[in-house]
Amino acid sequence: MAAKTLTIDGKPITAEEGATVLQAADEAGIKIPTLCHLDGVYDVGACRLCLVEVTGVAKLLPACTTRVAEGMEVKTDSERLRKYRRITLELLFAERNHVCAVCVANGHCELQTLAYSQGMDHVRYEYLFPKWGVDTTHRLFGMDHNRCVLCTRCVRVCWHVEGAGTKNVAGRGTRSHIITDLAMPWGESDSCTQCGKCVQACPTGALFHKGSTTGEMERDRGKLEFIVTAREKKQWVTAD
């Protein structure tokens, strides 16, 4: 496959044609913040955290869905981008009830990590304090809608990796929420195979193993990558 040369943050980079800017940056050791992106499933460009500046393009582009092009000049870390990322995170924290102190994912949460790595020391917008429930009807797993950021990783792994289609998004706008089948209690789902991929995929404490308490919910993202690599590349033993 043809190679493309481009620069990311001034660093000359060669990437395969068809690769995304995010992949190219990752290979070059440049970290672009992401939230809805998950290795192994298709990208949706929804969280807007990976927006980057590309010289000659007026609009900001999501690194996860933008393909590399010859001679492209990408900036991933300008003052403006940092400000927008911080606001995005503030909006997320204000939107639902993310109380880190009493969260199962405290210390292992991508949202929490993003917040401090982007320098978010407080949220300037009024917290909305919506009333969302917790579904603990499933034998093995629980879903706390208060912690959900609607990244749809669970929806995508359930459909594209497991093929069950148990999870989806219902409603719209700020009333959007993750459902199980016809919005029934998870424990009553006919389609759920109890595979737990959604729990592995979740970036926050929204999906958890039952029985975990504050700070105990650690995930093994490698399992998902393993399945996808095995399926797509027919490779069951890999170096990393």
Binding site: C47, R48, I87, L91, Y125, E126, V149
Partner: protein, 550 residues
Amino acid sequence: MQLDDLNAIAEKEKAAAKKICLRTCMSAGCMSSRADVIKKNLDAEVKAQGMEAEVEVRRVGCMGFCGQGPLVGVDHDDGREELFEFVKPEDAPAIVSSLKGGPCDVHRGDPKHPFFAKQVKIVRANGGIVDPESIEDYIAVGGYQALHQALTELKPAEVVEAITKSGLRGRGGAGYPTGLKWGTVAKSAGNKKYVVCNGDEGDPGAFMDRSVLESDPHLVLEGMAIAAYAVGADQGFLYVRAEYPLAISRLQIAIKQAKQLGLLGGGIFETPFIFNVDIRIGAGAFVCGEETALMASVEGKRGTPRPRPPFPAESGLWGCPTLINNVETFANIAPIIANGAEWYASFGTEKSKGTKVFALTGKITNNGLIEVPMGIPLRQIVEEMGGGAPDGRQIKSVQTGGPSGGCIPAQHLDTPVDYESLTKLGSIMGSGGMVVMDDTTNMVEIAKFYMEFCMDESCGKCIPCRAGTVQMHNLLDKILKRKATARDLAKLEELCDMVKNTSLCGLGQTAPNPTLSTLRFFRNEYEQLLQPDKFGPRGNGEPKKASVAA
């Protein structure tokens, strides 16, 4: 079907014309005031007064002057024109007897009123003239001639060139050059291509597309067919809002008629060209006006947008190259092909060619639909045609572009109405809604109204739009409740900038526009509502970050 057949239908229709035609507007506006009963009563009355031989009562589409409806127009064979306004079903006997010189005190309108006289009708030429449920009527005024011309005289590339030369730009809002879009789809590789007509007219205060679909559905079908020929598509989808049942039923009738006459389907005009059109009914989601969301909806999914590129022209419906244009854009196509690109380009300004249909509503004396050449000063529209604000009030601002647009203040009324000038003022051409506000209007409330709209219509996929519109709405609400300080206003402005630049689709990217434009021209109205910042940084004016040295 061949050209001779088409001409034969037209001749037959013309020969059957009667001396007097009573045109009864049966578009949604007038229908809400029982235009259907008016038509029935007129029919009965013509019969009762024995005038069937010389009088035709015709169902027609929108005449445009909706605020004065229900409307009945009269065409005499000597070219005289009359207009009855505010017609009631019981007025039928008087109207019919007036044709023989009888007394009639039904409210008369002036067909030469500037509201009509200043219009240049290309898209709406047949509106209020032809029966939208009769394909023969459409053929009689030259319908489907352009399609015949395109299929038999022009190569697809020549059609694209004609559209490019005409200078037509997308009438859905953004104003992308139509010819350029067609060219991209035509060049895209693929055996299967689609043409989609975006009739998801969701801007509150806009009803141009509804009117075109209800009044002249064949004009849109013909435009789509020509487009399909030009880009190499064989399947079209007409996406119409569920809120427009009359438009849907007239389109269904039109498609059926066109198929029967062989103007849709296989082997049109005995050429190898095949084109079928299916209607897709929306279900109440403004975001589906955005092209990638619309495609998701056509595919039967949640109408959420996706990042572009890839653009629909390269990868659209089911991954195939797809041409998406708005109703009014398609309605311009047949006239351009029939009359030539130069003819079309002679209307309008250098960069904005042709005409534009506007829905003139709000605090304005003459409500309704108008079609004017691009570049006409806004003042002519609102003052001369619209008659200014009613009840002796002053016009304060004109809102264009709906929730994606802005408010143009009275001091800029001399602005020519074209894409560039409106953008310069922080508004957009939009799909054609023009809501007039008078001096009693609170502009902060208007900003909140639009923000609430965007908040409710946000699909929820991307964070800036989903969560940002809520926060902007809450800040506007706080300002209106006189609880906000200058710091809140600064936060609002920062959020407007962020949501505009980071949202995934046009809905979010333009959601801050009404707020930004009212802030630009009516900032004092915001500032008057702000409260002193009693618990702000200590000692106002001092450096905020006082360092504390030991």
